[in-house]
Amino acid sequence: MASSSGNDDDLTIPRAAINKMIKETLPNVRVANDARELVVNCCTEFIHLISSEANEICNKSDKKTISPEHVINALESLGFASYITEVKDVLQECKTVALKRRKASSRLENLGIPEEELLRQQQELFAKARQQQAELAQQEWLQMQQAAQQAQMAAASATAAQQAGSSQDEDEEDDI
């Protein structure tokens, strides 16, 4: 295992990502664990290599931010020129994906209904729903009250009927 000199070397690409790449590159090949660990560390080393070189190139130019050009030049000067074409293609793809997303989101906004209007409609719907809920709740409450009243009346008349018709004396007076 490579010894780490401070926090910088603790950062690595997740092992799982490397394992997946190795598997895709060398399907059916048994790769030793220490070999995998080495690849993980080589990645970090590679990234540092490219960053340092790109940074130097950047410093020599009058720019403060490392640009794609700087990275490409770094790859070239470090002997990785064979990567350049594919790497450029991917950049194009990433940009296209980003562009599609921006278009998609603006397409949504351009359904003809501006955001404020949609918000207003939403508030309306909510208010309507709340009202309906309130009405429903009130109805149920009324029904419950009516049912309770009817039950009371029924109970009262039943008691009265009992008192009138039965021989038993019930001295209870129901005060409900």
């Binding site: 990502a17 790769v31 080495l38 490392i66 794609p68």
Partner: protein, 122 residues
């Protein structure tokens, strides 16, 4: 209605297996920033570096396997990688992180040599 304007290709997890980039871009950025003096990195430069790192992994793995001793047994060992790093000029920068194991091997080799030279019996 807000969609991220800084979306990267790698975020297309749902769109099938053909993602442009598989390595985690944020991690690559962290590693880059831990390099001395590196201040700011353009997002596109980050994409490029991430993809280059992916290609590097593939390149290293393939070279090591093809030049290695495990080809017949379909295996890849640490020493395959170490040897390829030593033999391939563009991979020489890796020898910085290899010394421990190689040193041990070298030490054993030189130890053997010493024993032979001194005629010691073991």
């Amino acid at each position: 209605m807000k969609m991220s304007q800084n979306s990267s290709g790698k975020d297309d997890q749902a769109s099938g297996s053909k993602k442009p980039i598989s390595l985690p871009i944020s991690r690559v950025r962290l590693i880059m920033k831990s390099s001395p003096d590196v201040s700011s990195i353009n997002q596109d430069a980050l994409f490029l570096t991430t993809k280059a790192t992916e290609l590097f992994v593939q390149h290293l793995a393939l070279s090591s396997f093809n030049n290695g001793s495990g080809k017949e047994t379909n295996s890849l060992s640490y020493s395959d990688l170490a040897n390829t790093a030593q033999e391939t000029e563009t991979f020489h920068f890796l020898t910085d992180i290899l010394p421990k194991k190689i040193l041990a091997q070298d030490y054993l080799n030189s130890l053997e040599q010493m024993q032979e030279e001194e005629g010691a019996d073991y």
